[in-house]
Amino acid sequence: MKVVARFEVPYYQYLDENSQLTEKLPTFAKDADSLAAMYRLMTLVRLFDTKAIALQRTGKLGTYPSIRGQEAVFVGVGHAMHKEDIFVPYYRDVGVVIQRGVNLSDILLYWGGDERGNCYANNKQDFPYSVPVGSQPLHASGAAVALKYHKKKAAVLTICGDGATSQGDFYEAMNVAGVWKLPVVFVVCNNQWAISVSRGAQTAAQTLAQKAIAAGIPGEQVDGNDIIAVHHRVEMALKKAREQHEPVLLEMLCYRQSDHTTADDARRYEPPKIREQEWKKEPIMRLRRYLEQIGVWSEDQEQALLAECEHNINQTVEDYLHTPPQPAESMFDYLYATLPKAYQEQRELVKKIGVVHHG
């Protein structure tokens, strides 16, 4: 017997749960403004998230998947991306898309049951939320083929959950990215749960990062509660993807501090106490304490930020609540570039009947 291949999975963290540095800071993080900007976004996102849940509870929004506790992953990813990069999301987000020219009210429209939530006014390239779990990494690899073919200096970034890594499509997407050397970064938001199924019940793999080995690409674990680590590893990965066409898989370790969606009740299956324990690692307070330590954040700033966020969110909610529904026949208006004659009669019928309201 001889050994023919060896592999290692690295883990990255800069700021630990006590807001202490565990490594020398990467360059970008020396810019306190940049960190503060991310702090502001995480705060906005958490407040928005809370608001969305409240809207759902009062019947003003459909099912909504909270990102509570996972803000560093999404905000860090969004912040590290370039405008020209392409984002291929799953359904759990907010943090990335608001940095991609998407209005918060679009997000509400989407979860309120209106396709126009995917019709971003200021973003012509990113993909809409993907509901079929694990299907979208393949789109990312396909988009990366297009970028590479058109010789663009940009990369694709896609994100999915820990549960999604069990899907064959996830593996197939990494595999083709590896063998075709595609400019794509695969991010896994490992929030430890896929609805009620724990991370440990998805796979015997000790890390999700090691799933990259099957595709012959590198995989890394990142402390997903440390936005410095998230941002840095994503930035490095995107750079490598853009410049060297080397795909990589980043597993972001975090914890879902909420039900799966508003349609779920995690008390049915989540062991008691875990959530509180994990809360000690949550990303927003961790960064705030650090910003306070280095003297770039104060209670006054915090209060001003909260007020500003509240104002924006309220405005957004107003916009959302006052958006009239689409005409009924809109269900035919974007099906094809031009609606074939065969379906025009159906469109006329829908139009004649008009919008039928839930009874």
Binding site: G113, P132, S166, Q167, G168, A328, L335, A342, I353, G354
Partner: protein, 326 residues
């Protein structure tokens, strides 16, 4: 006896058959502690343990292929897909393997599996949660496709599906999961799988439907009765194999036929029934066979989904139209 909902009847049937047959194994995403996103498997884990109620990794092709392997080797898997919009990754395993195992081994092996999934629109769910693509499976030789529309039929048909020696696609109308309650004796009695159910006897027109549309169709029939039209309502229930005898006998009596389904019109199961009725009952027909169906478009998101689902009014209008046909 307490009245139960359709989804509770599903649970009752699962529990009954798991008790009766140790080879019945439930598997799927979140079917264990969580009891399934609709609670169809609620309590089964406690009763039967984790070997028989299995939370799977999140992979539908895997659920399909695993169930095939289990079924071929003597188990009776009842696999849940969380929504019909997520069954597609398993279509290969269903069409290329489950549906053919008996045929391609000339009966040496068989594949007694039940693939359950909630289906249809109308529950304010996100996109991809509202599919009605039963026609795909109805077109596939070797399968049975069964669709209950009441708690009692859910119980009896599911028992029959599990006991059937061949693969069954069992589609549960999510819109009806908690719509109406019925007393459902837990007597283990299966209902026949090759028969339509006549829910309302009438003389003027035959309304043929299944799944969630049974609701609107029955409502339409009531209204029509007030308006002087006496409709017969048939719940097809098992759409594959199709019991044309019951439908044809009815149309021969009434002379008129309207088929109601939620799936898109083109190449839906309604086309098959309309084609058969038009061919076989041509001389009895006093008006063209009409279809009232979902539109040939993607089911809209929640805000417009009601505009997609065939309404009581659309059914009524079409019936009146053909009553006036001459």
């Amino acid at each position: 006896m307490a009245e139960i909902t359709l989804v509770e009847a599903i649970t009752q049937a699962l529990a009954y058959e798991m008790q009766a047959d140790p080879n019945v194994i439930v598997l799927g995403e979140d079917v264990g502690k969580d009891g399934g996103v609709f609670r169809a498997t609620l309590g089964l884990l406690d009763k039967f343990g984790p070997d028989r109620v299995r939370d799977t990794p999140l992979a539908e092709s895997m659920i399909g292929g695993l169930a095939v392997g289990m079924a071929v080797q003597g188990l009776k898997p009842v696999a849940e897909f969380q929504f019909m919009g997520f069954i597609y990754p398993a279509v290969d395993q269903i069409i290329n393997h489950a549906a053919r195992m008996r045929n391609r081994t000339r009966g040496r092996l068989s594949c007694p599996v039940v693939f359950r999934t909630p289906y249809g629109a109308g529950i304010h769910a996100p996109e991809h949660h509202s599919e009605s693509t039963e026609a795909i499976f109805a077109h596939t030789p070797g399968l049975r496709v069964v669709i209950p529309s009441s708690p009692r039929r859910a119980y009896g048909l599911l028992l029959a599906a599990i006991r059937d020696p061949d693969p069954v696609i069992f589609l549960e109308p999510s819109r009806l999961y908690r719509w109406a309650k019925q007393e459902v004796p837990d007597d283990g009695k299966a209902l026949p799988l090759d028969t339509c159910f006549t829910l309302r006897v009438g003389t003027d027109v035959t309304l043929v439907t299944w799944g969630a549309m049974v609701k609107e169709t029955l409502e339409a029939a009531s209204k029509l009765a007030e308006e002087g039209v006496n409709a017969e309502v048939i719940d097809v229930a098992t759409i594959k194999p199709l019991d044309m005898d019951t439908i044809l006998a009815s149309v021969e009596k009434t002379g008129r036929c309207v088929i109601v389904h939620e799936a898109p019109r083109t190449c839906g199961m309604g086309a098959e029934i309309a084609a058969e009725v038009s061919e076989k009952a041509l001389l009895s027909l006093q008006a063209p066979v009409k279809r009232v169906t979902g539109y040939d478009t993607v089911v809209p998101y929640a805000r417009l989904e009601k505009s997609y689902i065939p309404s009581v009014e659309r059914i009524r209008e079409v019936v009146h139209l053909i009553m006036e046909f001459a």
